[in-house]
């Protein structure tokens, strides 16, 4: 069975502070990991995927197979980063399993 755990429901930081949104997964095979973001009143959209190994909007995430983690990081948070963030895992059959999500609030 595949499982995604996001241990925190809310993270509140000041603008310019570093951000780390935690994600741990459980999967017996080779997973594909994603971060999705949902800004207020907008549709859920892909932020980044581990196989791309790219930085989107200043966010990065590294897959750590030893710790089964895929934490999302940004060195300096911006107010426009305030949103709901979901970590997701795709197994062999294209199904996505989502974590419960975390609300990031960036204060001015």
């Amino acid at each position: 069975a595949q499982r995604v755990t996001q241990p925190e429901k809310l993270l509140s930081v000041f603008k310019g502070a570093p951000v780390e949104l935690k994600c741990n997964y459980s999967y017996s095979g080779s997973p594909e990991l994603f971060w999705y973001v949902q800004y207020s009143r907008q549709r859920l959209q892909l932020l980044l995927r581990h196989i791309s190994r790219e930085s989107i909007k200043g966010f990065t995430a590294d897959l750590n197979k030893g710790e089964t983690s895929f934490h999302l990081k940004k060195p300096f948070a911006q107010e426009e980063d305030s949103a709901m963030y979901y970590c997701a895992l795709s197994g062999a059959n294209s199904k996505l399993t989502f974590g419960k999500g975390i609300t990031l609030s960036v204060r001015p």
Binding site: Q6, L44, Q45, R49, S94, L96, F98, K100, G101
Partner: protein, 112 residues
């Protein structure tokens, strides 16, 4: 740009009614999905489809059914709506065997 369109943004129905939620995608994607999104529970997969007339149960299929008669359209059906089906419903589509999934705007369904 991929467009996934859900027929209604807001819908109010009564207990016991049969409810149809429609979703259309314009990218010729093979895969289509229905989720419900609830605070504190994240997104949970209800049903998905890999091809026309094919469907598979997700994690919470009870009380729901689906229909996929055409490749671009995937319908979610609540046979007899109940108050615990009040939720935000999200449709998504993707290419076969791959990601990412592209989501619609969602339908906020209230069952009174």
């Amino acid at each position: 740009d991929v467009k996934v369109t859900q027929s209604s943004r807001y819908l109010v129905k009564r207990t016991g009614e049969k409810v149809f939620l429609e979703c259309v995608q314009d990218m010729d994607h093979e895969n289509m999905f229905w989720y419900r999104q609830d605070p504190g529970l994240g997104l949970r997969l209800i049903y998905f489809s890999y091809d026309v007339k094919m469907k598979e149960k997700g994690d919470i299929p009870e009380g729901y059914s689906v229909s996929r008669e055409k490749k671009e359209r995937f319908s979610l059906i609540l046979e007899s709506a109940s108050t615990n089906q009040t939720s935000m419903y999200l449709c998504a589509s993707s290419w076969a065997g791959g990601q990412p999934q592209h989501f619609g705007d969602g339908t906020r369904l209230s069952i009174l």
